[in-house]
Amino acid sequence: MPVTTIAGRDVHVDEEGFLTVYDEWDEDLAKQLAAQIGIDLTDAHWKAIRFLRDDYRTKGETATLRRVTVVGGIPTKELFTLFPKKPAKKMAYIAGLPKPHGCV
């Protein structure tokens, strides 16, 4: 796995830049990751990011958009506004989680 430096720290990432080690993430890092894809984190963003982090810790995989809506209680429409175009991918990126594999 490649190692890259973000916010002055070395972190492990996959070929698309998604963090691969859960515990290398913290909220400062999230702000940097968000800035890299043009997102300024507000409280509404944090609600989604924190849900993703907590859910991953218990389930071992990145929540799908539907799960963030149904279980996390954030309407899909809002997720598209907060993380435009590709909300599932962008949320996972900022939350330092693997890209959701959803689909097959």
């Binding site: 389930k59 958009l65 799960r67 689909c103 097959v104």
Partner: protein, 410 residues
């Protein structure tokens, strides 16, 4: 007596009771399977019904015919599972106790989950699905009567049963309109929530270029919010108008799974992806489409996983560790029109690659490449399904995926 209870006598449930009845002592084990319908549908056949290839009789048979002697087939609707009390309650009040439970009730299309699909006035008028028998039959009439305009093929969200089926439908529609000499009067669009034609990169590239060659427009990353009369509207406010919409509604597990507290947000049962044992209960398994494993929801996955499950189950009930490990093996024929098809073979870790199958270098099937032999394989599969697969007879294909015959680099 020890009791094995199976919910659902579809592809997975039928295979399981056939295989286990032969392996479990009749003096010691009672096997019961519950289903709400007395007809067994060959679901891969639904794809061909809209094009008039299969008649209804060819894809529907009495369910009882595939249930072996020594297995009780109970017709009824499941109200809920009471995992604490190890029993299943049916809607009519009957109670079925179990020692081991297999949930094999699959997933089904839920058009009511998308506003405007079922309730917008166009359902079965200009909006159709082919994931139900009735839908496929109704669509056949609509296809016959369609003589020009915009045909949109659409997927609401993943995962869906047979993720290649909407692509196959699109290829077959292109060929169908060409044969009728009217392809130039039809605008074909493929609308998907995925970033490409398919989920895995190499297959997505190959299938994507097949869409291009056929002049089929593709709209990617399209997550539908609602249907306004005859227009699809996405969450990011893109609009796609249609004259005829062929949609794959949201696929969800059975409602009783949710009522029993056994499901996730799609009513799928969380299981260990290698043993299919429910994460929450040591005596409940979920097989076929009903589980949350990250594999295609396909008959081939049900087949290969049941092979691994059968041996594991025999150990599990003796309190021995389950040594078999399912690898997510799937293989799917992909109809491409004009009497040809592709074949893809893959698992949790390896995406579909080009090559030959099942014999390396020989085939007779070509992987990720169109051929007539693949098409004949797909048609022959219907016979295999009724006569070999459901009765749990041996099929000379290994349960685990093999790299032999595959070419990682094109």
């Amino acid at each position: 007596m020890r009791r094995l209870l199976v919910l659902g006598a579809g592809t997975a449930g039928t295979m399981v009771v056939n295989k286990l009845r032969r392996r479990l002592d009749k003096e010691e084990w009672q096997i019961t399977v519950v289903d709400q319908s007395d007809r067994h549908f060959y679901q891969p056949g639904y794809l061909f019904v809209p094009f008039g290839v299969y008649s209804a009789e060819e894809i529907v048979k009495p369910r009882q015919r595939f249930i072996p002697d020594g297995v009780d087939l109970v017709r009824g609707e499941v109200d809920r599972v009471a995992p604490g009390g190890n029993e299943v309650l049916l809607a009519d009040g009957r109670r079925l106790p179990y020692d081991y439970l297999v949930i094999a009730t699959g997933v089904g299309p839920q058009p009511d989950q998308t506003p405007g699909l079922l309730d917008g006035g166009q359902w079965r008028k200009s909006i159709f699905d082919f994931y139900t028998f009735d839908g496929a039959v109704a669509l056949a009439k609509a296809m016959e009567g369609f003589d020009n305009g915009r045909l949109v093929v659409h997927i609401v969200d993943m995962p869906i049963k047979c993720p290649v089926a909407p692509l196959e439908f699109t290829f077959l529609a292109d060929a169908y309109f060409r044969q009728r000499g009217m392809r130039d009067r039809v605008e074909l669009t493929y609308v998907t929530p995925l970033p490409g034609a398919f989920t895995k990169p190499i297959a997505s590239k190959r299938l994507g270029s097949m869409l291009d060659e056929r002049k089929i427009a593709v709209e990617t990353d399209f997550l539908v919010e609602r249907v306004d009369d005859k227009t699809l509207v996405s969450y990011d406010e893109r609009e796609i108008p249609f004259d005829l919409l062929v949609t794959v509604p949201l696929n969800m597990g059975a409602e009783y799974v949710a009522r029993s507290g056994l499901g996730n947000e799609l009513n799928l049962v969380p299981v260990d992806k290698h043993t299919l044992l429910a994460k929450a209960y040591p005596n409940i398994f979920a097989l076929g489409d009903a589980s949350d494993i990250p594999a295609s929801k396909a008959g081939s996955v049900a087949h290969f996983s049941v092979e691994v499950f059968t041996e594991n189950f025999l150990r599990h009930v003796r309190d021995e560790p389950m040594t078999g490990s399912f690898d997510g093996h799937a293989n799917c024929f992909v109809e491409s029109g004009d009497g040809k098809a592709l074949l893809i073979d893959f698992n949790y870790d390896t995406e579909p690659l080009p090559g030959r199958y099942p014999l390396p270098g020989v085939g007779p099937f070509s992987l990720l490449k169109e051929s007539e032999v693949n098409h004949w394989g797909k048609l022959a599969f219907r016979w295999m399904y009724w006569n070999l697969l459901l009765p749990g007879r041996p099929i000379p294909l290994p349960a685990h995926m093999s790299m032999a015959g595959k070419h990682p680099e094109e």
